[in-house]
C-alpha cells in the first residue's frame, strides 16, 4: 500500500481505527443477542458508579495496595539483586531461595497468607510485594552480572576502589536492567492485586467485580475490567517515560 506512509500520524490513525472497529464488533455482538452489555450501558454504569463515589473508593483502595506492595517489593529486590550480583557468597546463599520461590506463583501464597495474616490489608500487600520482588530481583541481578568487565577495568586503572566502582560503574550501568525489572514487577503486582482482591476484600476493583458477578451485573464487570486495563497501562507508561529519561545514554536501534 504505497499511499500509506509509516509515520506517527498514520500509526495513530490505525490504532484509533482498530479501537473503533473493536467497539463496532462489540455492538454487533450485543445486537445479535450475545449476553454482553452494550458499550453505552457500560459507559452509563461507569457514570453512575462515579457519581455515587463507589468506584473512586475502589480505585483508591486498589492503587494504594499495588503501590505499597510494589514499593516494598522493589525496595527489597534492588539491594538483594546487587548483593547477589556483586558478592558470590551472597549469591550462593540467596539464589536457591530466589530460584525456587520464583516458580511458585504469588497467588499460590494467598491461602497461606490469609491463614497467617488474616483478611486485612497485610496478606494482600505481602502477595503483591512478592510478585514485584521476584520480577525485579532477577533483573537487577542480571544487570550487575552483565556489567562490562572493560568498564570496571577502565575505572580501576583510573584509581577507583571497590566502593566507587560499585556506585560509579555498576549502579549506572545496571540501571536499564533495573528499570525493566521494575516495569515487569509493576505488571505482576497489578495482575496479582486483582486476584488478591477477589478473595477477601471490602473494596477495590477486584472486589467490585466479584460483587457484580454475584448480582449478574455484567456492565459493572466491564467497567472494572476496562479500568484495570487503563490504570495498568497508565502506570506502565509512566515507568517507561522514567526509563527513557534515565537511560537515554544507551545506544538504541530506534530512538
Amino acid at each position: 500500500m504505497k499511499w500509506l506512509k509509516n509515520n506517527r500520524y498514520t500509526r495513530a490513525t490505525l490504532n484509533i481505527t482498530a479501537l473503533l472497529l473493536g467497539i463496532g464488533l462489540w455492538s454487533v455482538g450485543h445486537a445479535s443477542g450475545l449476553a454482553l452489555p452494550a458499550p453505552i450501558e457500560v459507559v452509563t454504569r461507569f457514570g453512575l458508579l462515579l457519581e455515587s463515589g463507589i468506584i473512586l473508593v475502589d480505585i483508591g483502595a486498589s492503587l494504594q495496595r499495588v503501590l505499597i506492595g510494589f514499593a516494598i517489593g522493589t525496595m527489597i529486590a534492588i539491594p538483594v539483586g546487587f548483593l547477589m550480583g556483586w558478592y558470590w557468597i551472597a549469591r550462593g546463599l540467596i539464589e536457591p531461595y530466589v530460584q525456587f520461590f520464583r516458580t511458585v506463583p504469588p497467588l499460590a501464597i494467598i491461602p497461606l497468607a490469609i491463614v497467617l495474616l488474616g483478611i486485612g490489608e497485610e496478606p494482600k500487600i505481602l502477595v503483591i510485594s512478592l510478585a514485584a520482588f521476584f520480577a525485579c530481583v532477577i533483573a537487577t541481578f542480571q544487570g550487575v552480572v552483565n556489567v562490562d568487565k572493560t568498564l570496571i577495568n577502565a575505572a580501576t586503572v583510573l584509581g577507583a576502589k571497590d566502593g566507587s566502582i560499585f556506585f560509579r560503574v555498576v549502579v549506572p550501568s545496571s540501571a536499564p536492567f533495573i528499570l525493566v525489572g521494575m516495569r515487569l514487577g509493576l505488571g505482576s503486582s497489578w495482575a496479582t492485586l486483582v486476584a488478591a482482591e477477589l478473595i477477601a476484600a471490602q473494596q477495590g476493583l477486584g472486589f467490585r467485580m466479584q460483587q457484580a458477578q454475584l448480582y449478574y451485573q455484567l456492565d459493572t464487570i466491564f467497567v472494572g475490567l476496562l479500568l484495570i486495563g487503563f490504570l495498568g497501562l497508565a502506570m506502565d507508561r509512566i515507568l517507561l517515560l522514567a526509563e527513557l529519561r534515565l537511560t537515554s545514554w544507551q545506544e538504541r536501534r530506534v530512538s
Binding site: 568498564l151 577495568n153 577502565a154 586503572v157 583510573l158 584509581g159 566507587s164 560509579r168 550501568s173 544507551q250
Partner: protein, 277 residues
C-alpha cells in the same frame, strides 16, 4: 644511560589453566623500557601481547617473574599506569567532559583543578566542541581520542595502549597515529603500544618489540632510528621501508613456519587462533 629503566619486566611467565594442562601465554619475557620512550609491541594473534600489557597494568597477576615500575614491584592497578583499551571503554552514561573528569574526581582534586585539567586535555585531543556530548554521539576515532584525554588527565607516568586503533578504518587510523605522536611530544610519557599492524608499529616507535606465539615470547627488538616529529610522508622514505620490511619478516616468518607446520601435521592449513584475552 645512567638512569634506571622506567619499566623492568623480568623473566615474566603467565599461564592460564586449561582443561588438562596449563596454557603458557608468556614464557620468560624480559624487557626494559626507558623513561619517555615509545615502545610498540607487535606480533601474531595469541602471542601474549595483551597479556603482557595487562600484567604491567596490574589487571592480571604474573605466574612467575615480576614487573617493576620505577623499581617498585607492580601488585595491582594504579592511576600511575593509564590504560587505553581497544573497545574505548568510555562510560556511556557520562559526557566527554565527565569521562575525562572521572579519574580526577576519584583523586579528590579541587573543582577548579578538575575542570581546568579536563578542559586542557579535551582541547589537546580536539574535542572541545563535543565536551558535553554523550559517547553514543561520537565516531570511533573521537571515542578513542576521548579515552586518550581521560587517560592523560590523571597524569600517569606510563601509558599502556592495547590496540587502540584496531577497530578503526585505515584513514582514521593514520590520522590518529599522527595526533597521538603530537600529543605525546607535547606531553611526554612512557608509552607501551600494542598493535598487530607492522606499519603502525614502525611509524610510532623508538623501538619495536616483535613477539612470537606458542609460547608467547619476545623474538626480536628492532630500533627505529627515525627522528621525531614524524610526518605522514615518512612512510614513503626508503629508511622507513627497510625498517618495516625487517619488522614484517620478523613477525611473519614465524607465522609462515607455523602454517606449514600445521599442514604437515594435520594435512590442513592452520586456522588463525582467536586472540585469548
Amino acid at each position: 644511560m645512567q638512569r634506571l629503566p622506567k619499566i623492568q619486566v623480568k623473566n615474566l611467565k603467565k599461564t592460564f589453566p586449561l582443561k588438562d594442562q596449563n596454557f603458557v601465554a608468556l614464557d620468560g619475557v624480559s624487557l626494559d623500557i626507558q623513561d619517555e620512550e615509545f615502545v610498540t609491541v607487535v606480533g601474531p594473534s595469541g602471542c601474549g601481547k595483551t597479556t603482557l600489557l595487562n600484567v604491567i597494568a596490574g589487571l592480571e597477576k604474573a605466574s612467575g617473574g615480576e614487573v617493576l615500575v620505577d623499581s617498585q614491584k607492580v601488585s595491582g592497578p594504579s592511576p600511575e599506569r593509564g590504560v587505553i583499551f581497544q573497545q574505548y571503554a568510555l562510560f556511556p552514561w557520562l559526557t566527554v567532559r565527565e569521562n575525562v573528569e572521572f579519574g580526577l574526581k576519584l583523586a579528590k582534586k579541587s573543582k577548579k583543578e578538575t575542570r581546568e585539567t579536563a578542559s586542557h586535555f579535551i582541547e589537546l585531543v580536539g574535542l572541545t566542541q563535543f565536551a558535553d556530548a554523550l559517547p553514543k554521539m561520537l565516531s570511533g576515532g573521537m571515542k578513542q581520542r576521548c579515552a586518550l584525554a581521560r587517560a592523560y588527565a590523571v597524569n600517569p607516568k606510563l601509558l599502556l595502549m592495547d590496540e587502540p586503533f584496531g577497530a578503526l578504518d585505515a584513514l582514521t587510523r593514520v590520522n590518529l597515529q599522527g595526533q597521538l605522536l603530537q600529543t605525546w611530544q607535547s606531553e611526554k610519557r612512557t608509552v607501551m603500544f600494542i598493535t598487530h599492524d607492522v606499519d603502525e608499529a614502525v611509524f610510532l616507535a623508538n623501538r619495536v618489540v616483535v613477539m612470537a606465539a606458542k609460547p608467547g615470547r619476545i623474538k626480536e627488538i628492532i630500533e627505529v632510528d627515525l627522528p621525531y616529529p614524524r610526518h605522514v610522508d615518512l612512510r614513503l622514505t626508503p629508511r622507513f621501508g627497510e625498517l618495516r620490511n625487517r619488522v614484517w619478516s620478523a613477525v611473519y616468518s614465524q607465522e609462515l613456519d607455523l602454517a606449514s607446520y600445521g599442514e604437515q601435521v594435520s594435512g590442513q592449513p592452520t586456522q588463525k587462533k582467536k586472540k585469548g584475552n
